[in-house]
Amino acid sequence: MANFNVTLHVSAGKGGSAAFAATNGDGLASNDPLDVNGGDTVTFICASGSTGTAKFRYLSIFTSNADIDILAGGANVVRTVASGSLLLDSITGLNGGEISSDLFYIERQASSGSITAPTASSVTFNNPASANTTATVNLSATGSGGTLEYACEVGDTTPDNWQSGNTFTIARGSSGTVYAQARRSSTDTSNTVNASRPGFLTGDTAVAASSSNIANGATSASTTLSSATAGETYAVRVNDGSSNLATRTGNGSLSFTSSLPSSGNTSTYEIFVRRPTSTGGDGSTYTATNDTFTVSMSSPAQDTTPNAFDLADVGPVAAGTVATATPVTITGMDANCPCSVSGQGSPQLTVGSGGVWTTSSTINPNNTISVRLTAPTAYSSTHTATLTIGTETDDIIVTSAAAPSGSGGTGTTGGTGSYGVKIFDTNGSTTVLSPSTRYLVRLTDPTSISLAATTGSSTLIAVSGMSDLGAGNSDLIFEQFATVDNVPVTRESNGFRVTNNSGGVFNNIVYAVRF
């Protein structure tokens, strides 16, 4: 059995008022009556501070339904609820002068055993793009008797916000559990069901961001967002990053000044999105869209103008033969530079030690370059080739050798020049030595050489008495046949140096000649 208090506040005099206060708040409206059962007691109280007589009228569900008048400060009156069927009744409270009245509602529940509690099956939610969701308490059995009511609250394992409707407004949250139950009476309550509280919605990831190129040294970059959702906030971050570089709402341009790529490099950035609370987001968390874009910063301007260079002229060389200039190293630039050669004698160039001859190529800083061209077929003539590297040029002049000597011209007959010595063969007419002859003589005895396989190993074939050794007047002759082309002969002030770059041991017999 339970006891409930019903208090009536009254004030005396014309214009006074009457107002109920109930023990648990129920009873002040017809749709929220005070539920009582047979045998329950209800204590009628004249509120302290009342200045008039509290009068309770039209009682009908008590064992004694006589009117009750309680003077201010008077003793409370206790009545017992009579047994019976379900009955909704009202009590009228009056002030002393009966000037103002109020209604109190009280409902007697059906007799025990005639009410069947409902069975709750679940609590479900809709998922609107808004801050609040609607929870629906679902039943698998509705029960019978009494009044079907529902309760649903967040975090309260015994919800008691009873109402006749089965839907409730639940605010989205990052955590928590929603509990719900139903009942037919205060003692005929269903099981409790629960579900996770609806979480916040994330932003729309269907956004596109444009890539861009920026100049070397630029201090900012930008991207333009398209397909963004109005009202949502978008942020630029380094790909998979955690710090916003810049933000904006909806479509449009986003500029940022930090985490820019370095010169000559490209960086990848990612768009993150934040949904506002008005459309179901938490208003603070950015989520990755996986939509990326790039920003490329151009390389610094490079110097492709080499220092002035000079390939030495060549010659005199035999008429009609190919002459090769001594390679020079090209400096003064910090990037590849185009190079080409043109002019007389079908000139070609080669870069580095690759041995590839062509009319144009590119050259790296501090690499070597050489030019070759065919000498004129006429004696004592020149061919000029122009080597161009970037904006720099150099002319290489190849001079063909003079006629053999004297006035002998082609050398097919004894010369008539005034210099030199003429010696006749035994027939007295054939010249075996004449001013027309370019005579081949040996400068050194044949010498055996053996060069180690180590690249650069070398030996000097010393020559005495002749200091003007040049490609036009002297060379080394190798007696034995060899199939290598990387054992170069160079000339020094006192002889010839043979260098072995073949990668293998090099043996031969060699002697120097002049001509």
Partner: protein, 232 residues
């Protein structure tokens, strides 16, 4: 120079210089239309040109005698890159200090400071002289032959070209020799008429990728000379 003699021509070419000359070159023989030559590569030089005047393109190199060991004289044959014998006009010249000084009682003998015979006019015995009219220094010819002009030694196919250090073995995959080309055509990259140094060897392979080959062109390992014989 404190003793001896020096002869220089008008343009400074040295004919005889007893101060620097170790030895001069004396013609031993001048032979027409032969496909072989006997000489000692350690003491003698051979200069040759095709005996025929009707060829268009003639490759030629010397093929070593079988089991030749780079010691003493050998009988070398003139062959093209396919192993065909080639008739050549040739001149054999020998360094004078490899010979015994003559004692004919006239002419000119020059000795250097070591006492070596630098020149001996008496060693010329009717075969004429030998004069160098052009040359290509070591490793200045590409070895591409008449393909382009990078390996051209001269334009005159009637001159004698040094044959020492050439090589043929009857197999077209290896050839180090001289290409006399009388065709003026420059089609297909040809350098046209002239005499070229042609040197290459081809490497063949057969592996999981199938049969393959590549050809290496070798620049002239020793200088090449163009000579004039007879009355010089």
């Amino acid at each position: 120079m404190t003793y001896g003699i020096t002869f220089e021509t008008a343009n400074g070419n040295v004919q005889i210089d007893s101060d620097t000359t170790n030895t001069g070159l004396i013609v031993l023989s001048a032979v027409a239309s032969s496909n072989n030559v006997t000489f000692d590569p350690q003491k003698e030089l051979v200069f040759a040109k095709p005996a025929s005047t009707t060829y268009t393109n003639q490759r030629v190199a010397i093929r070593h005698p079988q089991n030749y060991g780079w010691s003493g004289a050998g009988n070398f044959t003139f062959e093209d890159s396919l192993g065909n014998a080639v008739l050549m006009n040739y001149i054999v010249a020998k360094w004078s200090n490899e010979q015994t000084a003559g004692n004919s009682g006239y002419g000119l003998q020059v000795y250097n400071s070591d006492g070596d015979l630098a020149f001996d006019s008496s060693l010329y015995t009717g075969n004429g002289g030998i004069g160098i009219i052009a040359f290509a220094a070591q490793q200045t010819l590409s070895g591409y032959g008449s393909f382009g002009v990078t390996s051209r030694m001269g334009l005159d196919t009637t001159k004698y070209y040094s044959m020492n250090n050439s090589y043929a073995n009857g197999n077209d995959s290896v050839f180090f020799g001289v290409e006399f080309n009388k065709s003026a055509s420059t089609a297909n990259g040809s350098g046209g008429a002239g005499v070229y140094w042609l040197s290459y060897f081809t490497v063949y392979s057969f592996d999981g990728g199938g049969f393959g080959s590549y050809t290496n062109f070798i620049s002239n390992f020793t200088p090449r000379f163009i000579a004039e014989g007879g009355s010089v």
